[in-house]
């Protein structure tokens, strides 16, 4: 019997047919690259290179700006031309390092061979240091620095590592393909993290729409003690940290608490692959697999893109922007955000590019709330989106806080299910930002 999380959830069409089983293709090197300094949650990284400096692939170019921050390494070899601001996907400014790409010269310490390294006898501290040094962040979407998760706060102990191979977001297939192509490396990565956390149990959660990945990973996991593959029923947002914990080990993370509260650490398969590469191959996080997809795209697929490559080049590889495009979304259709600028460079945050045709890109006409309660039923965090959105509309921040607005994971189930097409998430998200600001300023006092 396949399990799933217990509260809420919706069933959007998964639309993975366009790019599923497309082999991971490496994207060609661009002539010029722009490497953003904000590619993670937390403090921006501080540039440690100067204008005119020559760097090799894998060299540290920006240091983490705090504990909750991540290092950034040169994805290309070449000359740094300037450190300035660039425009991000939403038209706002962000600091970035500009470089001219010259050749493809790697640091000698990086193992570029395709051999699988199975060595496991590392000290836990050594693994965590390596993860921190390599600038690894959660590649599932939130981009939370991984080393922070590996160091549980005092008094808390991790019991189980949950590996997120769910990819519940429609259209995206990059994690699926990664599991098929790099399954063995992922299993070694899981063993490394189990060692780092000093735990004996790991569960890989995979949704039922990826039977080949379930089969492949089960076969690989059966050779290793303590790793189990769990096939999960199809339901969005199963890839959410708290939902996945509920689906895999039937524990519910209390409101406002972190997964470590119930003894779980959750990491995405792509993150785990990055851990493998960092520890075994000495390769920092300089590229990721992203899905470029859409109904009318000529060559949808899964591309291995080094950070800093302009997204336009990746799009060109996938056959160029289709003529009927009405909207480009960074990430999947549920949690992703529409982009107003696709000249922006790829980075740790962009897990996919989705081209929606014009007919599908505009919202439906908004009508009145009919109090049907569908949004309450769909909310995986047990909130009342209709009420929260009304409170946000009336600027009732205190009441929103009382109704646990900070638990919202912004999955968009409420808006997806609303028969009146109300922009529930828009208001809830705005309220969450406001209330978050109020809570932070209160804490600062």
């Amino acid at each position: 019997m396949k399990s799933t999380f217990r509260i809420g959830g919706v069933h959007p069409h998964d639309n993975k047919q366009y790019s599923v089983h497309q082999p991971i293709t490496e994207c060609a090197l661009p002539a010029k690259a722009i490497i953003p300094l904000v590619q993670h949650i937390g403090a921006p990284a501080q540039a440690v290179v100067e204008k005119g400096q020559k760097v090799k692939v894998g060299e540290l170019i920006a240091k983490a700006g705090g504990f909750v921050s991540a290092n950034i390494h040169a994805p290309f070899s070449g000359t740094i031309t300037k450190i300035d601001t660039t425009i991000d996907a939403w038209g706002m400014k962000m600091p970035a390092i500009f470089m001219d790409v010259e050749g493809d010269e790697w640091l000698e310490t990086i193992d570029r061979s395709n051999d699988i390294v199975r060595k496991l006898d590392y000290e836990p501290k050594a693994i965590i240091d390596k993860v921190q040094e390599a600038g690894i962040v959660g590649l599932g979407g939130a981009c939370f620095p991984t080393h922070v998760k590996l160091l549980p706060p005092p008094g808390k102990t991790a019991e189980v590592l949950i590996v997120n191979g769910v990819e519940c977001e429609p259209y995206l297939t990059c994690d699926h393909q990664l599991m098929l192509e790099k399954g063995e490396e992922i299993i070694i990565g899981i063993q490394l993290l189990m060692r780092a956390l000093n735990i004996q149990k790991a569960i890989i959660g995979i949704e039922a729409n990826k039977p080949d990945a379930i089969k492949h990973m089960t076969a690989l996991a059966s050779k290793v003690l303590g790793i189990e593959v769990k096939a999960l029923k199809l339901k969005y947002p199963q890839g959410g940290e708290k939902q996945l914990i509920d689906a895999c080990i039937r524990r519910q993370v209390p409101s406002g608490a972190l997964p470590i509260e119930v003894g779980a650490v959750v990491d995405n398969v792509a993150t785990i692959y990055a851990v493998y590469e960092a520890v075994q191959k000495n390769k920092p996080l300089i590229s990721r697999v992203m899905t470029v997809t859409g109904k009318s795209l000529a060559k949808p697929g899964n591309y291995d893109v080094r950070f800093g490559t302009p997204l336009t080049e990746v799009v060109a590889l996938a056959g160029g922007v289709p003529e009927d495009t009405g909207k480009v979304i960074g990430g999947g259709p549920m949690m992703g955000r529409a982009m107003s600028n696709i000249d922006m460079p790829s980075n740790k945050r962009v897990s996919g590019l989705l081209f929606l045709p014009e007919a599908e890109s505009m919202r439906e006409e908004i009508t009145n709330c009919v109090r049907c309660g569908k949004c309450v039923g769909a909310c995986p965090m047990g909130l009342e989106p209709w009420l929260l959105s009304k409170q946000a509309w009336h600027s009732m921040w205190d009441e929103m806080e009382d109704h646990n607005i900070m638990d919202c994971i912004e999955c968009g189930c409420c808006q997806f299910t609303c028969p009146s097409h109300l922009p529930l998430l828009d208001y809830v998200r705005m309220g969450k930002a406001k209330v978050g600001g109020i809570i932070r300023s209160r804490a600062a006092k």
Partner: protein, 314 residues
């Protein structure tokens, strides 16, 4: 019959006992209140807008009565006359109060600021601002969803459908500041209303470098500092590629308006200029001399504050 009489008697006695009880309780727990609070409240406009910084008119009245001087206390809705009455009631002197008005510092009209995307989310500037740069490429300019219009309790700010920008009605605006805090991009500023509502304003808040700002909007301030050079009163400062006119120093000579290459500086509510360019000849006398010549207020060519007419057309 008997039943009615009994009921009447019981109710009557109960009422009487309650009345006596209430009377004594009211005497016992009587709250002594300064009668001047009521008087001051009476003198206030009663809009309860919170523009003074207090929770409402009553709270402001209490604040005035408790305060030792009226400095720093101002009812923006009532302005100088109201504060004068309050001063008379409390026997305190009221300082000089310049009437202020909300000014929308963006002139990114539809022609000047081409659309680069279409936004179809919830119609709220706050939400749009959280999402992305907006429908144009200017990350500082007006988003046009009308949060300020919704915030105004005096019907003083309206969207102009032609320009897509909000316009303030000088007559109705009470400078309560609600629109200022409603705007997520801090475009609206409370500025001195000026003599006969005449004022000079830099209608832009874009802090990008000139070339970038100009690319996003042809009406943008590019921080060229030409206005700063022609200003004889040291009223203009340039910071972060953006000019700012200090309304306390500005003498309304209109030189900066002529110097501005992008038309970002607006002279509001001035009468039309004479065909001959006389202004440069008599720089210092200009501000006082000019208004005396003609008075038409409605025909001001550069006036961007004519919502009444717009409404009538619509």
């Amino acid at each position: 019959m008997n039943l009615i009489l009994i009921s009447l008697a019981v109710l009557g006695v109960t009422g009487l006992v309650a009345a006596v009880l209430l009377y004594f309780v009211a005497q016992k727990f009587k709250v002594e209140e300064d009668p001047r609070i009521d008087e001051v409240q009476e003198a206030l406009p009663g809009a309860n807008c919170g523009g003074c910084g207090f929770a409402g008119c009553r709270a402001f009245a209490e604040g005035c009565v408790k305060a030792e001087t009226l400095d720093g206390l101002l009812c923006p809705v009532g302005g100088a006359p109201t504060m004068k009455t309050v001063g008379e009631i409390l026997g305190m002197a009221v300082g000089n109060i310049d009437p202020k008005v909300a000014v929308v510092r963006c002139n990114g009209t539809c022609e000047a600021r081409p659309k680069t995307s279409i936004y179809d989310g919830a119609k709220s500037c706050q939400i749009l601002h959280n999402c992305y740069v907006g429908e144009s490429a200017c990350p500082f300019g007006c988003l046009g969803c009308g949060d300020c219009v919704a915030a105004c309790e005096f019907d003083a700010i309206h969207m102009n459908p032609e320009t897509g920008l909000p316009e303030v009605d000088d007559e109705k605006c009470t400078s309560c500041g609600k629109c200022v805090s409603a705007c997520p991009r801090n475009i609206i500023e409370l500025r001195k209303k000026g003599p006969k509502s005449r004022r000079m304003v830099v209608m832009c808040v874009n802090k990008d470098k000139g070339a970038v700002a100009r690319k996003a909007c042809t009406n943008a301030c590019i921080g060229c500092s030409k206005c700063q050079k022609v200003c004889e009163f040291d009223a203009i400062t340039i910071e972060n590629n953006l000019a700012y006119i200090d309304y306390n120093k500005c003498r309304l000579c209109r030189k900066c308006e002529d110097a501005c290459p992008t038309g970002a500086i607006h002279a509001v509510n001035f009468p039309p200029r004479k065909p001959k360019a006389e202004a440069p000849a008599a720089p210092k006398a200009a501000p006082v001399a000019k208004p005396a010549v003609e008075k038409p207020a409605a025909e001001a060519p550069v006036a961007n504050v004519e919502p009444k007419e717009e409404e009538a057309k619509a």
